[in-house]
């Protein structure tokens, strides 16, 4: 699909503005009913998904060009998919896919905000999104007794991802995740310095070719290593391996798990036992890439037809991705099984969760906006009486830590792995 393939959607966006909010059915506290961070922060309609439809339609008609304003509006967006869920409560149109294709169009025309250009240059040179040296990639695991899959074989590859690999403050989480698997007796290894970026974030920036390249690389690497299963503690990587590779027809051919899914399995099998009390009131933040964006890709080829006079349907019927197929219950099940821990829910959860702020490249190009978005989430966590906010993605944890620091919020920020580790 190209951006022009969404002409129908551009025409049929009604300007209902539902994309700006969480679905009304789930609104409860009027302080927390906005869904789209970009329009909440910048106000102009252009920042909402509806505005993107409008911009695309004007571009199509030659009324506007891709100029700096266009780029700014398009990239001040976490691509978190909240708009997509709210829109598709009532519509059969694809806001998020259009935004993705618009970004691809920008890149094809050689237009990308400068901070993203630097990140992509770094990726091309060092195989990571953190503008760090490839040779440093495996340092997070130094001292751990773990198989090196470049020279040994194991059933499971533990893919740390770029953020965990290079964000030193988060290394304990990456290490704890691996240790939990080892404690449960999982035959697990890592690629160390040879681990490469999944390419998902690059794809979200519009660099579709980069992701294709990395997909091919990962397929070959895992085949050579002989692994059967991939476990990642990074929600971004998970959504990329699970959904985006499938979208572009590059399935890994091995089982893919987010670590929360794998831990739940280990807990159910009794290979891990949560016995220690963790007396804490926590709230769970659904990472977008583990939640609504991890809904399996639906391949469809067909055409629109009219029935019953003017009703627009698809032949064959098309199943729209409306966010319900994300991973929502698994992390909650784990948290609920931790002794002494009390889980309280925020007002915006699951399909309609507020983004942490880091996604879509915002953390790189617009750090102030990323922090603002994260701070909003911390405010919500505080409003439901949580002592700590728990997520299951290093990008969320990073951004929440930054937001807490910037705003002087003393709420604790955990990854779910850390709480499981405490409970064992």
């Amino acid at each position: 699909m190209t951006w022009q393939d969404y002409t129908h959607d551009m025409q049929r966006c009604t300007r209902c503005s539902y994309c700006k909010w969480i679905p009304y059915r789930y609104m409860r506290n009027t302080d927390f009913i906005e869904g789209c961070p970009a329009v909440a922060r910048y106000n102009w309609h252009a920042y909402a998904a509806g505005g993107k439809f409008n911009m695309a339609y004007s571009l199509l008609q030659g009324r506007i060009d891709i100029d700096d304003t266009f780029l700014d509006v398009l990239y001040r967006c976490q691509m978190d998919g909240s708009c997509d869920v709210s829109c598709k409560v009532q519509q059969d149109i694809e806001p998020l896919q259009l935004m993705q294709e618009l970004r691809i169009k920008c890149v094809e025309e050689g237009k990308l905000p400068p901070p993203h250009l630097m990140v992509i240059h770094g990726l091309r040179k060092e195989d990571n999104m953190m503008q760090s040296l490839k040779s440093d990639r495996g340092k997070w695991a130094e001292g751990l007794d773990v198989k090196d899959l470049t020279v040994e074989q194991a059933e499971v590859v533990y893919h740390a991802g770029c953020r965990y690999s290079f964000d030193k403050e988060l290394w304990p989480v990456a290490r704890a995740g691996l240790s939990l698997l080892q404690k449960a007796g999982v035959d697990v290894g890592i690629m160390g310095a040879e681990e490469a970026c999944c390419g998902g974030r690059a794809y979200e920036l519009g660099c579709s070719g980069e992701m294709e390249k990395y997909a091919q690389h990962q397929m070959e690497t895992f085949r050579t290593a002989g692994v059967k299963t991939l476990v990642t503690p990074c929600a971004d990587c998970y959504a990329c391996f699970k959904v985006l590779y499938d979208k572009i027809g590059r399935e890994l051919g091995i089982e893919v798990f987010h670590i929360t899914q794998y831990l739940e399995r280990l807990l159910k099998e009794g290979r891990l036992k949560l016995t220690k009390k963790v007396p804490l009131t926590v709230t769970y933040h659904d990472p977008c890439h583990l939640g609504r964006l991890s809904e399996p890709w639906v391949h469809w080829q067909g055409k629109e037809i009219k029935v019953e006079g003017q009703m627009i349907v698809h032949d064959p019927p098309k199943k729209f991705r409306r966010g319900a197929g994300g991973v929502y219950e698994t992390p909650r099940n784990i948290l609920k099984s931790i002794p002494g821990l009390k889980l309280v829910e925020m007002y915006r959860i699951k399909e309609y969760a507020w983004c942490c702020g880091a996604g879509g490249g915002v953390i790189d190009a617009y750090p102030e906006f990323a922090v603002w978005t994260g701070a909003e989430r911390l405010r919500e966590a505080g409003a439901v009486g949580a002592e700590a906010i728990v997520s299951a993605c290093p990008w969320c944890k990073r951004n929440f830590l930054d937001a807490a620091k910037e705003t002087g919020n003393d709420i604790k920020v955990y990854d779910l792995i850390e709480l499981v580790e405490k409970a064992i």
């Binding site: 300007r15 209902c16 009304y24 106000n43 009532q90 006079g309 349907v313």
Partner: protein, 553 residues
Amino acid sequence: MKLAKQEYRALEYIVGKEYITQEPAILDTYNQVWGNQFFFDDKHSTRPSAVVLPASTDEIQAIVRVCNEYGILFKAFSSGFEYLSLALEKEKGILLDLKRMNRVLEIDTKNMRAVVEPYVSVYRLQLEAAKHGLYTGRIGVGYSAGVVAAECCHHGCQHTMVFTSGYGRNVLGVEWVLPTGEVLKMGTGESGGELFSADGPGFSLRGILRGRTGANGGHGIITKASVKLYPWYGPAEWRQSKEPGEPPSRGQLPEVPDGYKVFIPTFANIDDALEAAVEFCHAEILYALSIGMLGTAVPPEGNDEEWAMLQNLEAYPEAGEVSRNSLVLIIGGQSARELQYRQKCVLAITEKWGGRFLPHFNEPEALARSFVDMIWSNGVPALRVTGDFLPSSSSPDGSPDMLKKLAEREAEISRRYEQSGAFYSVRNVKRGISWRPEENLSTGAQGISVALYDPYDPASLEAARRFISELFDPRGKFQRFGVPARGGCLQIESVTHVHQNWGPRYDNYDLWLRKIKKMLDPKAVADWSAYIPPDYPHYPQEGGYVLPSYGKK
């Protein structure tokens, strides 16, 4: 048309650099609204010269003064989700996006009123008011619509009007920036008090502010409004939920909340249903009433799922007839005894007119779904079916005879178009008009005839235009009471033939409207695309009948 440098700077000085734009990429997100294809043969209406995001009455007043000084047309909006809400009659014009004016300023529980800024949505106020045991009426266009737009500027209809009355009746006082830039505090506000009563001491002007159909921005900008609230018998907070894996559209209340009951009786024919509706209204027991629109079905996930569902209707050809002859009756009460009394009335009147409670309409989950739709609105899922729809709103006097007469005439017209394939129509299902009675039918009712058409199918679009012209009946064949409206606006085109054709039939009301417009807006700077032009353009006529002008910018 770009503003001159000094014009732009004057506006920028008021709101600050961050809150004004003339970037084409952003401006073009302020001229694309559903229905535009119907009016203009184009998704885009006129591109505004600039858009501003004011934060206060002072800023708005200053902006309007600049508009007067430089002859710039202006229009303000909240959600912008309405026909012509962003359309400008001239190329030198600006839009005021009121998103930053977003506060619920007061909920006065003792006097049952709220004071809100323009961007506060109806559903948001409903959530806030419920905490205090209060409620504001549902709005037809859905939950994102603004309270101020609904109450002060616009015409619409909804199922709770039997209890909360029509929008115009709920305005208690406003802060109003006139097209000249003067600030008028209507009602008690004008005399130095709070915005407590719209009718004085001090100027009333409620009729001039909005009348029945609203000036839709043609009279300036309301920056603050005090609106009536009504008792809410439900919980202070509620949760609509769904099972994991179900699409978000499935979120529902598990049951009708305590404090309310819902009944859906079905009658033998439309005559009995309407007679019963009148009697229910005269008993003054209802919290909400719908005639012919039930809201009991599980919300479909999308068109494909809906179509799959509809195919089963082939085995149930009388489905449409059954819905058409059914009523939704919602009652509420502060005590069990009050509720019991109302229930007793409902059952007695239902029995008198031979109503039956069909199980599939009256099972608890179906009733809960209907409650949600009638009390808060399910939004506008109709827009998904074909891409657009035309709700034509006729306003009869509320007598069963008039309701019936219009129901039959309008259903016959709709049917003709549906059968031609120009509109969406479910095979074998005869659809009807749905009604929202006002104030227990003492002041009338609003009937909605809906055309679901595809604005990007030329034949369907053309049929929609013919349909609306026929339904609007500007030659007066139906002899109905009241000027019809298309959805929320009186207008059905940017400079309407309806006023020109209907005015002479109704005491030349249009001349008065134009006089008021000229008096309030001597420099003609408040956009009139959904109101009345200061002067009529010369549109083609046919035997003294002014022809419509759809498809012209």
